[in-house]
Symmetry: C2
Subunit: 161 residues, 2 copies
């Protein structure tokens, strides 16, 4: 699949041609949310091939930056993300996927449903005396949906320092 | 505000210390969604200062990559984003803001409510005979919420080719 060339701001913002912009690493960021709850599940990255595969199959594909390979989400864990809707933003340098997740509905390698399982207090909430900004995260999911060891075994953890 | 150093995967994924990872450009991507509808409004980027300002004030601040400056969203347009909840992801290299937007609720410089105002057909929907993948975007918002000329005047459009 060949995407249209980016020629004018008007074409990119107001047109109906798909003209994605990949960054200096050849990637476009992708926000993935649960289609029913609206909860953001993860922020991933797609290269050209992953974007094309996602469009062609209707299942989310990403570029794994840690493993440096095409990543068909759920191919190992069974937690495939079925795309309910794909959108692209104004300057076409970001993708939004609304998905329904197979199996137990989890999308996070740590075992939680969403990768965003911790809250950061902001504004007035930070002004209480006990607040320590260096120790400020609050878990929003109390229990893991699955045990990563069961699903991934000894596959290397993708988190990098 | 000093963030905790990133020392171990367990600390980053399972701990309560805020240890954000900024990329090679000193930025962390930020998904911003409407707190009530769950609609994703924009994908922005924060540098250290923007993240600290957002935490301290409870209003979304970003780093404008086009203008290369700290960007208090809504400072010019009045469309301030009040943070209802901030979250951070497993490896702490992405932020999610749930916001309520002042004024008419719009967040997109083109005049739409969400920057993601166009849909991309995927999967089975692409297999109909009339589908042309190079001309494939479908508008999801029929009318603009505001006229960008009224709000921004002749400020340079941030979209880059």
């Amino acid at each position: 699949m060949n995407f249209s060339k980016r020629t004018t701001v008007e074409q990119i913002e107001e047109g109906t041609q798909l003209s994605p912009k990949f960054n200096q690493d050849g990637l476009i960021p992708c926000v993935t949310s649960a289609s029913e709850s609206g909860e953001v599940l993860m922020l991933g990255y797609m290269n050209n091939e992953a974007l094309v595969k996602t469009i062609e199959t209707g299942e989310a594909h990403y570029w794994s930056r840690s493993r440096k390979m095409l990543w068909h989400k759920g191919a190992n864990s069974g937690l495939v993300q079925h795309v309910v809707e794909m959108r692209i933003d104004d300057d076409q340098d970001a993708i939004w996927l609304r998905v329904s997740v197979a199996g137990n509905g989890a999308s996070c390698h740590v075992g939680y449903k969403s990768c965003f399982y911790r809250q950061v207090l902001v504004g007035e909430a930070t002004k209480v005396s006990a607040h320590n900004p260096r120790n400020a995260l609050i878990f929003t999911e109390n229990t893991k949906t699955f045990d990563p060891m069961d699903v991934y075994g000894d596959v290397q953890n993708p988190t990098q320092l």
